[in-house]
């Protein structure tokens, strides 16, 4: 079947999509957006997190046909139009929160969603928000640092 939707603000079209295929597969293999990672395929790890109509979801658990005519925003869509890294992405780089990097795309989207709702989350809020994102390098402390840094920069940006 054919599926058409909006990915990072641009209309995309995927052909010959199998009816049981996931949104994650379509993003990675059919429309050239491999940023979202495929790890557990069962919603346990969060590496494939994307926005679907503004809500963060595991793209491995969304059937491709369900995104027809809807809006998807992936980790690639967190960067600026100019290609520069977005605020959350830069904070992860600066805090050294990236080790093997496989979990990073999901963490970036989930952190972006957290800071959209609450620019100054408590440590407990951060842990709760990221509880569905697993880092098998176990670099959680640096990830916490990165979210705090992103929060501080976002607040500073809003003041200035």
């Amino acid at each position: 079947m054919r599926v058409t939707f909006t990915a990072n603000g641009k209309p995309v079209e995927a052909d010959d999509v199998w009816e049981g295929e996931s949104l994650l597969y379509v993003l990675r293999e059919r429309v050239g957006l491999p940023g979202s990672k495929n790890a557990c395929e069962q919603g346990e790890c969060g590496s494939c997190t994307v926005y679907l109509d503004g809500v963060p979801v595991c793209s491995c658990l969304v059937a491709a046909g369900q995104v027809q005519d809807r809006e998807v925003r992936t980790v690639e869509g967190l960067a600026e139009e100019t290609g520069e890294l977005g605020l959350v992405q830069q904070a992860f780089v600066d805090a050294g929160a990236v080790q093997c990097g496989f979990c990073t795309p999901g963490l970036l989207v989930q952190t972006d969603a957290l800071l959209e709702k609450d620019t100054q989350p408590s440590d407990n809020d951060i842990r709760e928000a990221l509880s569905g994102n697993l880092c098998r390098c176990t670099g959680y402390e640096k990830i916490m640092d990165a979210v705090r840094l992103a929060s501080a920069r976002k607040c500073a940006g809003e003041v200035s």
Partner: protein, 295 residues
């Protein structure tokens, strides 16, 4: 495989009648796992995401009619007042991403004994009903009759779950769940408890410790008897250790768990008794405070 995308509820019912083996999908948090791992290859998938009324709920003051696809995240943020037990259970489902997609309709459709909604629904009162519909009409199925076996419910092949009807809480409700960590946990076992002071009853729900979710009927009857005989509904006085212990033992006796990868039957029975005592104590303490502050 067919991918069916009805735009309205009537179209969805027509599609289910035409393709009775079609697998309904809404949040996809259960269905997609089975597809990704090729556990299940249905003849057709019936996508319910376009049927927007499934994501709506109404509250007439006595009953909440909860649309099958209202995601857990919204049950927590919008319905913690009228449905406190279900909202607590919803908070233990998966992760934030999963709670943004999954809903009670999927839990009921899958009918897994480990589904987190079930203990809360069973405890919420005798008037909890699953609203199932087909082109033949609509029926309200009492929650006690809904679960018929391991991962089996009493739906007919042409029926879809439209909503679940849950009485608005008239007393404290609690939910407790055992797992290896706080997030992303399938229950080792779970327990829901509710006090219903208006009609002098209590509700229980056991999860993951029997072939189906079930109530602890003898535990409910015992506690109701004690509360009525000793006038505790009126006084709100302490229950005493003996009553709390006995309640825990009766809940434990109502389970028929198995040994599996998540835990042993013995552990589940033990944990259920502990959770039963705790949830009863939490609820009764809250109820006692309400009585004293009203006096």
């Amino acid at each position: 495989m067919e991918f069916l995308r009805p735009a309205t509820w009537d179209e969805a019912l027509a599609a289910k009648a035409e393709y009775p083996t079609a697998l309904p999908i809404a949040g996809g948090t259960d269905v997609m796992v089975e597809l990704n791992f090729d556990v299940h290859r249905p003849s057709a998938i019936l996508d319910l995401n376009r049927v927007t009324e499934l994501t709506e709920w109404t509250n007439d003051g006595s009953v909440v009619r909860l649309g099958a696809s209202v995601p857990y995240a919204r049950i927590i943020s919008e319905l913690s007042g009228p449905l406190p037990g279900l909202a607590l259970a919803a908070h233990t489902v998966g992760s934030p991403q999963i709670r943004n997609r999954g809903g009670v309709g999927g839990n009921l459709g899958a009918a897994s004994p480990a589904g987190d909604s079930h203990p809360a629904l069973l405890a919420a009162g005798r008037d909890v009903h699953v609203e199932a519909a087909s082109v033949r009409g609509t029926r309200l199925i009492p929650i006690d009759e809904f679960y018929v076996g391991v991962k089996r419910n009493c739906l007919e092949a042409d029926e879809l779950i439209r909503a679940v009807h849950v009485p608005v809480a008239d007393g404290p409700q609690q939910f407790s769940k055992i797992g290896t960590r706080n997030a992303m946990v399938i229950a080792v076992c779970a327990f829901g408890f509710a006090l219903h002071p208006k009609n002098g009853t209590v509700g229980t729900g056991i999860g993951s410790a029997a072939p189906t979710p079930r109530r602890a009927v003898e535990a409910e009857e015992y506690l109701q008897g004690v509360l009525a005989e000793r006038g505790l509904w009126e006084s709100g006085e302490l229950l005493g250790t003996e009553v709390v212990q006995r309640f825990g033992e009766l809940v434990k006796a109502a389970a028929s768990p198995i040994d599996d990868v998540r835990g042993t039957a013995d552990y589940r029975r033990h944990a259920l008794a502990v959770m039963a005592r705790r949830t009863l104590t939490w609820c009764w303490n809250d109820y006692g405070k309400q009585i004293r502050s009203a006096a």
